[in-house]
């Protein structure tokens, strides 16, 4: 044993030193130049700014981007950009919003500036904002965003909204005829729907949306009566939607609507309907640029492009919510409740209510 420890001890010391050394050496890393560049660009007129961006991106030739659209959806959008700007090669990784935030934090904490830009849901931003990892990026591209979505724009230019996502109520029309369907969020507490309404496990985004819509007290009441109605708690939005469409249960209490709408578009006989009388909770998806980006021109070029007609049309064609142009399936008069992020203590309280009334129920 002694022999083994004799070999183990110096090796452990060496390994730990190796781990510590780069962090210590990089502790006083130089500040980013990206924000200075963006401030300079903001002073130029549109044509000149655009020219500078393209020239810079051409020199950089590369962009490391994390997309929170998944799989083919992300790849096809990036291909469109690469077709438009063939001189920028995009290194694309796709993952969930929380994982993307976690990766950026990890990389930047280790002083490894590997990611240039991320597409991230606004409700998932606070953790990154707190760490001060995002470049302030003023851009004229946001001027195109219509008034009804201008609330999504950050006054400090830390993120740039480019699409929106929705949480709403939908149901299986084979299991519930339209006249017996819920009309509002509170209707989900109706005992007629006992054990038929499905949710994901506690999800900050959804709860913040309902909190914005209802206020804290009403949200608590809703959770309480919802808990008494024995909701289905099952992980996976799309899996739940598929199960509902297959007749497993009747109602989606918290889900994106596009999955069902897309299924209905492909096969009009699909037993799916959206409850338009209940407000639809909407949050923005945004582009953020790493304050320490190694490709600031390419990052800015890509961010601006996401609000172009080309990118917005692609977003609509794929049944996601474009900020510019017509929504692919929601009517113009749909009741939309936009929301962003709230403070940590509110998030803690919302999770606490969920655990009290729904999460820990046996």
């Amino acid at each position: 044993m002694k022999n083994l420890l004799r070999i183990l001890y110096p090796s452990i010391c060496l390994s730990v030193s190796l781990m510590i050394a780069p962090a210590v050496l990089n502790a006083a890393a130089a500040p980013s130049a990206a924000e200075k560049l963006y401030a300079e660009l903001a002073k130029l007129n549109a044509a000149e700014r655009s020219k500078r961006l393209e020239e810079g991106a051409r020199k950089e030739g590369k962009l490391t981007f994390i997309h929170t659209f998944r799989g083919k959806l992300a790849r096809d959008q990036v291909r469109l950009f690469e077709k438009r700007y063939p001189f920028v090669k995009v290194e694309l990784t796709d993952m969930g919003s929380q994982d993307a935030a976690e990766r950026l934090i990890a990389e930047e904490t280790a002083k490894r500036h590997l990611t240039d830009a991320i597409s991230l849901a606004v409700p998932d931003l606070p953790v990154i904002l707190k760490q001060d990892l995002i470049a302030n990026y003023p851009t004229p591209a946001t001027a195109r965003i219509p008034k009804k979505f201008q609330g999504f724009i950050d006054k400090e230019n830390r993120w740039m909204p480019w699409y929106w996502s929705e949480h709403g109520i939908s149901y299986n029309t084979s299991l519930i005829p339209p006249d017996k369907a819920p009309k509002d969020w509170m209707d989900l507490c109706n005992p007629a729907y006992k054990g038929q309404v499905s949710f994901d496990p506690p999800e900050t985004r959804f709860m913040v949306g309902l909190y914005t819509l209802m206020g804290e007290e009403k949200f608590k009441q809703w959770l309480k009566c919802m808990g008494e109605n024995q909701p289905i708690i099952q992980r996976g939005h799309t899996q739940r939607m598929n199960l509902m469409l297959a007749g497993d249960h009747a109602i989606q209490g918290d889900n994106f609507l596009y999955e069902g709408a897309l299924a209905k578009k492909k096969d009009p006989k699909t037993a799916f309907a959206i409850v338009y009388t209940a407000p639809i909770l909407a949050y923005a998806g945004s582009m953020i640029i790493n304050a320490n980006t190694q490709h600031p021109h390419a990052s800015a070029l890509f961010s601006d492009w996401t609000l172009s007609d080309e990118s917005q049309k692609y977003t609509a064609d794929e049944f996601r919510g474009p900020l510019i142009g017509k929504h692919p399936y929601l009517p113009e008069d749909a009741k939309i409740v936009p929301f962003g992020y709230v403070s940590d203590d509110i998030v803690e309280r919302l999770h606490g209510y969920w655990n009290q009334y729904i999460g820990k129920k046996k």
């Binding site: 022999n3 090796s11 962090a23 490391t64 799989g71 976690e102 708690i233 899996q239 007749g247 699909t270």
Partner: protein, 567 residues
């Protein structure tokens, strides 16, 4: 007689093993222990200070929910391990030690189960046994008769997932058993049953111990089943409790570390039980210098009964879920089987996957490289480790065994993150390559592979190596020419297990994936996350076909190099 090692090739091999264990196991474990004692995140100021806190442990273990989840988990682990062990033992015995017809087919179908990704299997069981739309309920005409959303539904799905592991471990041990001991029992007048209980079972005790140990640990750390079924079954297990308590951004690494330490302690306790079970190594040495061929028991007419039961079992274990996956792969969206559903069948799912070849096929190639590479490296590593643990008196051999086993206690997400952090902090340029995933997998699968090989190693009598030493063989030659050939049943079984699991592993691959090192599992997750169960099924069928080819190649290699069976 056990060897003492000097500074020959054996000594060098030992030093290498220790170095690899430090790099691959001690450093990540150290990071996890360290993190569990810190209230700041890795990389933040104060993380490397020598001030520690038990706050994470107080938070983790101070909650009543945690203890309730722990009891649920133990109950779940015992129940599912019992079911999978019983099924695995039966199948291993039928296939390897009896003259049951269609044994090879039963073997292939059992192993085929491992190949289908876990997410697909769990979702298929939802479609089979959901109380409202379950195909099985529709077939018997009683809604809710089978309910996958229940504690026993979870036990069932997980037990079927684990049966091939018990099968593989015991099959390897049964193949390496000298039949003369059983023949002696028969000559002494004992019947088949008595011989089985009094001779065969005690001889495969290390394999039994290893199987029980691994089944329990895998059940404790299982994530897919409690995640997909547990919420609706109102059953919270240890892993889901960890997930719900730490799944915020930024991840609470301190709390995760504290939870990992609990699993680690539990695993140490189980490992201690295993050590005690196999403390008299020499009792299990059935592979000696005398030639032998495994004997098959003649069951007479009963062989048709065992064949029927085994076929039914493998149909339930592999056939049923695969049929659901195969059926779904031709649908535009999942529908219960009906004339209308059959009318909508299409090849579009396959077409779409094959049309995007640069993405999906590239990931399959990456997975093949990582799977085959990891399995080969791991088996070489653990066979050397197992030699030092079981055949020498080298000081600290139990510590080597513990370090080899310890990674099983670390949840994939924690292990993957430890690797991510490590290679972010250390200037070794492997981020975004397959190497970083391979290195993480080496640590991840070392534990199970070590049990596969140790089971076979314990059966090899030391007299073989002694004879080789007398004949002047050096350590490396003896290891290569004596041990490796005799270890082949365990090596092949372990190689297969590691290869397939490395092929389909998800959590670590997701954490370490970048644009060029995506594996098939990442694509599977993308498809699942995007809600395309039919497309995911099509991809699953393609993987199944590809892995069947790899398995058949492995089987051919096993047949070529393994112990010849008596026909």
């Amino acid at each position: 007689m056990r060897r003492r090692l000097g500074l020959d090739s054996g000594g060098i091999a030992l030093a290498l093993i220790v170095a690899i264990l430090i790099y691959q196991v001690v450093v990540p474990l150290l990071m996890i222990v360290w993190t569990s004692l810190k209230v700041v995140r890795p990389g933040e100021p104060g993380f490397f200070d020598l001030t520690f806190s038990l706050a994470n442990y107080a938070r983790a273990f101070g909650s009543a929910d945690f203890w309730s989840a722990t009891w649920n988990t133990l109950y779940f682990a015992l129940a599912s391990s019992l079911v999978s062990f019983t099924l695995g033992v039966f199948l291993a015995w039928v296939v390897n030690r009896t003259n049951t017809p269609l044994a090879r087919l039963i073997n292939v179908i059992t192993l085929g189960r491992i190949i289908i990704p876990g997410i697909l299997i769990t979702v298929s069981w939802i479609f089979l046994a959901s109380p409202s739309i379950g195909i099985l309920n529709a077939m018997i005409g009683i809604r809710g008769f089978f309910n996958v959303y229940s504690f026993w539904g979870m036990v069932w799905v997980h037990a079927l997932e684990m049966t091939p592991l018990a099968y593989l471990l015991l099959a390897a041990a049964l193949q390496s058993m000298d039949p003369r001991l059983e023949e002696a029992s028969a000559v002494a007048g004992a019947g088949n049953w008595t011989t089985l209980i009094r001779i065969a079972v005690p001889l495969v005790l290390p394999a039994v111990g290893a199987a029980v140990l691994l089944l329990l640990v895998y059940a404790i750390e299982n994530f897919e089943v409690p995640l997909l079924l547990g919420g609706r079954a109102h059953v919270r297990l240890y892993t889901t409790e960890i997930f719900y308590n730490t799944a915020r951004t930024p991840t609470d690494w301190g709390l995760s570390g504290a939870y990992s330490m609990a699993i680690l302690l539990l695993s140490i306790a189980l490992l201690a039980g295993y050590f005690r079970l196999v403390r008299h190594n020499e009792r299990y040495q059935t592979v000696t210098g005398k030639d032998f061929r495994p004997r098959r028991i003649d069951l007479g007419a009963w062989r048709y009964v065992t064949c029927g039961i085994a076929l039914l079992l493998v149909f339930v274990i592999t056939g049923l879920p695969f049929l659901v996956v195969f059926y779904a792969s031709f649908l535009a969206r999942y529908q219960s089987p009906s004339v209308q559903a059959l009318e909508t069948m299409t090849l579009d799912n396959y077409r779409e996957i094959l049309n995007d070849a640069s993405y999906s096929l590239h990931s399959l190639w990456n997975s093949t490289l990582v799977g085959v590479g990891t399995a080969t490296v791991v088996m070489l590593l653990v066979s050397t480790m197992s030699y030092f643990i079981n055949k020498t008196r080298v000081p600290g051999r139990k510590l080597i065994d513990f370090l080899g086993f310890a990674p099983i206690a670390v949840p994939s997400v924690v292990l993957g993150t430890a690797f991510l952090w490590f290679y972010l902090l250390v200037p070794v340029p492997i981020l975004g390559t397959l190497i970083i995933i391979g290195l993480a997998y080496v640590t991840r699968y070392m534990a199970v592979a070590l049990r596969f090989v140790s089971t076979s190693m314990l059966q090899i009598h030391s007299e073989l190596e002694e004879a080789a030493i007398v004949a002047g063989g050096r350590w490396l030659t003896n290891f290569r020419r004596v041990y490796l050939p005799l270890l082949r049943p365990g090596l092949m079984a372990g190689w297969f297990w590691v290869m397939v699991h490395a092929y389909r592993e998800l959590t670590i691959a997701l954490l370490l994936a970048r644009s060029q090192n995506r594996t098939a599992a990442v694509v599977i997750f993308d498809l699942w996350d995007n809600g395309s169960f039919p497309q995911l099924s099509a991809f699953g069928v393609i993987i199944f076909g590809l892995l069947i080819v790899l398995v058949l190649l492995g089987q051919a290699a096993g047949k070529r190099f393994g112990v010849q069976e008596q026909i």
